[in-house]
Amino acid sequence: MKYINLDHISSNPLLPEVKQAMIAAIQHDYHNPSSQHRAGEEAAAALEKAREQVAGLINADSPKEVVFTSGGTESDNHAVKGVAMANGDKGKHIVTTNIEHNAVIRSLRRLKSDGFTVTSLSVDDKGRDSPQDVAQADTKHTILTSIMHSNNETGTIQPVEEIARIAREKKIIFHIDAVDSVGIVPFDVKAIGADLVSFASNTFYGPTGVGGLYVRRGVKIFPIFDGGVQENNKRAGTENLLGIIGMGTAAEIAQRDIHTRYDYLKGLKDKFLRELPTVLDEILINTHPVHSLPHLVSASIKYVEGESVMLMLDDEGFGVSTRSACATGSLRASHVLLSIGLSHEDAQGTLVIAFGIDNTAEDVSRFLKSLKTVVTTLRDISPLYKKAAVKG
């Protein structure tokens, strides 16, 4: 029986075209793009072609606004720390939310020791923040607002256009962590009005270990790697050209297919959400019904623990992700799930199901069947379930 991957938020398989492009790049033996001779120039041309492909996906004004990085984590670190270092003389206050990725949270925590203060805003029960709260949190010392476009645990999409407008009026730099959005939902940096945007290649079926940071022309940011003048003097170090070529190809295909991809993924998600209540009761859906990623469902299955569900589903041939404290090894339940108001018990039983373009409607049906079996087995073992039944 084929193994079905329903964990497309952690990574995605490479598109066949991406594999071909990367294999061709390996065969080609590219030189260092910074070298001045013919072989170097050939590598530089391949690099710049990929930059154009990526710029096209996010509708950047110029490919020069794309900085290649090692992935979403580096992009987030670069945006937050790079802006703080370059603009700390203007103010030392940053606004963010309670549900950011650790790449942002921990970067901000690092800055606190350098005298920065951070206002972290709460979100509603579907994980959405309020632009009014952002406006109120801003002070005359605020230099940066850093807010994610979509959350990797709930899939909820934030009202970034409104937040961008507020930031622009107050001349505050606005960074969007769009690692889980770019290549999955149409994303236009100009229409949104973003100053900095983090994204990752493996979100849109490109290779892992490569990503990008969009830096709008005119935004003051320091590199966090010191060394050479690569990437328009924004990111030192010889570029990961093989990965970047793969990312460029994936970006071009994502741009071409974005609407069909969106509709296809949303079809799978809608089917799942429609049929889930017919197989299991007492499940909380944490994903926003409208403003959310087309492929992601966060479901808190009451009375069971996520790692057990994940392990049993693995035995049944399905790969899903869980945010239970036990599975992540973090002792505590996910900060995102607690921030949207889940109890510890419900947070422990939360699965993240993320469909991909390699999934089919048949996969969804089979998954629902297995999910029912697994959850029923685990609820039969659970002391919480019996108690709830008695109470009810």
Partner: protein, 171 residues
């Protein structure tokens, strides 16, 4: 796979799952805050564990620990059963991943509580019906351990002094 074959076998095919009606002793430990809860039911005949059942809310390790514990305890007289430790259970499972060792600390504690419950009842000590504590309170015998270095830590701490790891996001 992070678990060995013995652990996976007990997780996939847990032994002695369920409850015992009119149990002679019941022990409950754990807290969803730590990720796990376990209830042990005992039927005692002639000071011997005639039957034992469990219910567990928890990860793969917690379920395997519960299952193994019941296998070890079943048939033992109370004097022997009192000697069963968490370490015995972890060893019978041929080891648990380091960050899962705290799960193994539930099993024997629940058993000892159930034996205590039996003895209390026999001695005519009446107690309120066992009930789960509030979220932010730990039941007796329940401890939290740092997932990075396994040092025992207090509930609510946000930083492990021993290994300098953050344990909770601060905002």
């Amino acid at each position: 796979m992070m678990y060995n074959k013995v652990v996976m076998d007990h997780f996939r095919n847990p032994r002695n799952v369920g409850t015992i009606e009119d149990a002679d002793g019941v022990g409950e430990v754990g807290n969803p805050l730590c990720g796990d809860m376990m209830t042990i039911y005992l039927r005692i005949r002639d000071e011997r564990i005639d039957d034992i059942k469990f219910q567990t809310f928890g990860c793969g390790s917690a379920i395997a620990v519960s299952s193994m514990l019941t296998e070890i305890a079943k048939g033992k007289n109370l004097a022997e059963a009192r000697k069963i430790t968490n370490k015995d259970v972890a060893e019978a499972l041929e080891g648990l991943p380091k960050n899962k060792l705290h799960c193994s600390n539930l099993g024997a504690d629940a058993l000892q509580m159930a034996i205590k419950d039996y003895e209390d009842r026999k001695a005519g000590i009446t107690r309120p019906i066992l009930k789960r504590k509030d979220e932010h309170e730990h039941s007796h015998g329940d401890k939290c351990y740092c997932p990075y270095c396994d040092v025992e830590i207090d509930d609510g701490v946000t930083f492990c002094d021993a290994c300098q790891h953050d344990l909770k996001e601060e905002h």
